[in-house]
Amino acid sequence: MECNDAQFYMRFRRHGPDETGAEVTDALDRHLAACPRCAADARTATTFDTSVAAAMRDVPVPAGLRTRLVADLSVRHAVVFRRRLYRGFALAASLLLSVGLVVGAFTAARPQPDTARIAWDADAIGDPQTSEDAVRTWLVAQRLPAQLPEPFDYGLYLTRGTEEVQGRDVPVVVFRDPHGPGFAKVYVFRSTSFDLKDMHEAQSSSCRAVPYPDRAAGVTFVVVYTGQELTPFLRGRGGRVALRG
């Protein structure tokens, strides 16, 4: 190692742990052992570092500093604790308020059953003309033909709505049997939801299903009824309209 290199590395040689690495340190030590001038500079640097380090640490710590720090931290800790507590309360309160608002809104939105309206609707079931008008209006609102495929007796009308058939909702009108627990249901299948080609009559042990295609309207009515004949459900107890076929 040359003097210039030694002078360079001496700047980075610490008074404490050496961080220049063993290889550099060994070479530097060998040079310092052989070069009196650099060795003197190294001694000077070490002496300077030792003196500065001693002076640097020579700072008297004020009496009572620890006590003041602990007291200050106790106050700060209480403030932090209170702040967290308040934040927790505020969060809980806001959650409660939110839940209360949702429950309140839900409760307020529930309608009270209108018994007068229910009684009036039940009255209407017994009136054939009112029932027929109501069914016609409902069918039109569903964008279906206003007339059912047979002249049903609306004195036997029970209800209307939708039923799930093969996973799809199908409009249906229900009539009761005047002589027993039987019924007749009129389903309206739309061509947009079902393949309506080649539908045919079917018979089970107690029911019969008869399709009535209405190609112009894009629907097929299927009348399902108990008993041997549909006649008991029809106005005047007989006759069919010309929709069939």
């Binding site: 742990p17 000077t44 300077f48 570092d49 001693a54 002076a55 640097m56 640490r57 700072v59």
Partner: protein, 175 residues
């Protein structure tokens, strides 16, 4: 152990060295005490960030330095010496170095820009390694070594009894 118990342990272990570090950074005992309090206060608020207790000292030093930088960010408290005017080669000084007056040392430190003062203080004060200082200051280790060399050279010109620095009467403050 609760938060307060952990903090008391931290205080007992580090408050003296933190105060001394703060004093060497700020130059006054009042500022040093305020900074020490502030550092422990911030440590309290962020105690969950201290995952490795072995790193507590470095962590606290970093908090304290940040608090100090925050204080002086918008105010130039000291006229500092541009170290471009100071060479970084070791200056010839006496073999026998008399004790250095701590007040004189503080005046010399006060004249240094913080970017030079902090590594000097950490270097002499706590035997921080170059790597530790680089981590504290978010600097490459080469930059730390360069600043240390120049800072030390400047301290020699201010603190060594003789002879006068080569080629100059003393460090020009350039102002």
């Amino acid at each position: 152990m609760g938060v307060q118990g952990g903090l008391h342990l931290l205080i007992d272990a580090h408050y003296e060295s933190l105060y001394r570090y703060a004093y060497r950074l700020s130059g006054t005992s009042a500022d040093a005490e305020d900074l020490t309090q502030e550092a422990f206060g911030k440590a309290l608020a962020r105690l969950e960030q201290l995952r490795d207790p072995e790193r507590a000292k470095s962590w606290l030093y970093r908090i304290l330095r940040n608090a100090y930088l925050h204080r002086v960010r918008d105010q130039k408290r000291h006229r500092t010496i541009p170290l471009d005017a100071v060479g970084d080669l070791p200056e010839a000084t006496a073999d026998e170095m008399p004790d250095i007056d701590t007040a004189q040392l503080q005046r010399a430190l006060d004249e240094l820009d913080e970017t030079f003062r902090t590594p000097i203080v950490l270097y002499y004060f706590e035997d921080f390694s170059y790597r530790d200082i680089a981590d504290q200051m978010d600097l490459p280790i080469g930059t730390v070594m360069s600043r240390l060399a120049r800072g030390k050279a400047y301290l020699r010109t201010r603190l060594a009894p003789r002879p006068t620095p080569r080629g100059a009467e003393g460090p020009s403050d350039g102002m």
